[in-house]
């Protein structure tokens, strides 16, 4: 069988706390290219990995503003500029009656940007990813917690890193092919 290039080393843990502890130790030891996989969101894990802020809120704000101004303009333009009609003597720019649609479109655009922004930042859809080559990785979506140290980390050394993970009391350490 052809030998695959190494993507990284995957360590399996039984509890969220053990994983959190392992991530902290790995960061302390100087590893920077690492990721953790859990079956549910674990508080503080992203911070421990060095990921503190996400751009999702900014994207949602921009989406919401586009929806808000776009929604108002959508009604303002035909009623005041493009095709003004006198309906029941109401003023052309009867802005209070434009508010419901403006509101709905604000929510719509903000929600679309929240979902598609989150998916895009996460790089979804991802049809192939090396971590799925790790043995027992299907448990990451069930009841086990995984830590990955990537091979491209400058500090990575197949032997020493493996030793390091074993010392962290990992339940199992395995190699991940690219």
């Amino acid at each position: 069988m052809r030998k695959h290039a190494l993507y990284g080393l995957m360590a399996e843990f039984e509890t969220a706390d053990a994983l959190l502890e392992a991530v902290r130790k790995a960061r302390e030891a100087g590893y920077r290219r690492l990721d953790a996989y859990t079956p549910f969101p674990v508080e503080g894990l992203a911070d421990a990995l060095g990921f503190h802020t996400t751009r999702v809120p900014l994207i949602v704000l921009i989406g919401g503003l586009i929806g808000c101004f776009g929604g108002f303009f959508l009604q303002y333009y035909p009623n005041v500029i493009g095709y003004p009609l006198n309906i029941g003597g109401k003023p052309y720019d009867s802005w209070p009656s434009f508010i419901p649609i403006t509101f709905e479109l604000t929510i719509l655009c903000a929600a679309l940007s929240a979902v598609f922004g989150m998916l895009a930042l996460n790089g979804f859809p991802t049809p192939y990813h090396p971590v799925f080559n790790a043995p027992r990785f299907e448990l990451a979506s069930q009841n086990r917690f995984f830590l990955l140290l990537e091979a491209r980390d400058p500090k990575f050394d197949a032997e020493k890193t493996k030793q390091f993970l074993v010392e962290l009391k990992a339940f199992e350490v395995s190699e991940v092919a690219t």
Partner: protein
Amino acid sequence: MGMEPIGPQNTPVVPPGVPEIAPGHTYGSVTDKISAIVLTRGTRKGWWVGFLIAFALLMVMHYAIAMVLFIGVGLYGINIPVGWGFAIVNFVWWIGIGHAGTLISAFLLLMRQKWRTSINRFAEAMTIFAVSCAGVFPLMHMGRPWLFYWLLPYPDTMGVWPQFRSPLVWDVFAVSTYATVSVLFWFVGLIPDLATLRDQAKKRIAQFVYGFLSLGWRGSAIHWRRYEMASLLLAGLATPLVISVHTVVSFDFTIAIIPGWHSTIFPPYFVAGAIYSGFAMVLTLAIPLRSFYKLEDFVTMRHLDNMAKMLLATGLIVAYGYMMETFMAFYSGNPFDRYMIMNRMFGPYAPWYWLLITCNIAIPMTLLWSSKIRRNVKALFCISLVVQLGMWLERFIIVVTSLHRDFVPSSWGMFYPTAIDFLLFFGTIGLFFTLFYLFIRYLPMISIFEMRELVHKTAEE
């Protein structure tokens, strides 16, 4: 089922005394119990019976729609003065039912209520299916439904735009936004669970379909961070949205000058009524589901009790709405308003009005105060059905009694529904349950990852 965990068993276990979940559950056990319904337990006989009944009703809906498309809205009981008949009644009823799902998933998330975890998924599904049913009615009330896109603002060659000052156009935007956001919210919630199903599935086709739908989710902590942020923001957006949707639906009535419609109490009273009927529907669905699929561990008495309390709270708001409506009719000194209320209570539709008061106020508002009844599954199921009937009658009374006798006695008339009216209504119930049966068979009806999170949190405490 995945691999059996090997090695020492030091996984977190739910301790006794947690009201939201039965003791003894672990990450693995909640995962397997929920996913097994989809993956390994197969299609059961009871499922087929229910599905086929629902499917037969769906065919009834298709028949009714085909008739309306072929012959026209003359098949409905509508005429002048009652130009809005069952179509709008059913539309408001279904939209209202949907609202509880969004409220459970969004508002209770913002309020950090643990008990939402095991009911939010199927409540959200209920929302989407109810909105689908609601959509049928305005469309089939249009006369020429194939021209529905005239409602949308697009630069057409006719040179005219939708009437943006009309609440009916607001409705188009509100309901389509609501449908879109509900589907997105539901799908986002499903992604991690679809990944679980992908990893547990044994059949090639299931692995492919769930793998495709889970978009390559791998549970990375960084992904979770963005995911949680997006979910939180969606919840924050969906909460005002759900209130705005029923407010806009109530604008369909209040912006008109018809006595009985032209009232400022409508928006809050419609929203409360929507949540009232929606929680009733959640109970109607949850009670048989938990016993049929043996989910009493997850949908506990605490859940049913809390939902019954929500029924009580929103029901009281609805009762206040009825009271104020009556009070204002007299206090305003407007003879048309006064006549409308007297006609509602003692006119030709009086039996339906009093049945509505019985179903919405008299029965639930007296019984639900008792914690014994709130914890009696059968009683709760019956009350939930009674409330839904009551809420349907409420919309019927609002629509029909307000329209059938307006300002000029020479234009008074009566409304009698026809067979097609009923067939279309019962048909959409078939559509709802067909979709629901497919949902419980092919998707996890309880959010698996949130249940694991619940296990984690309760085990920690």
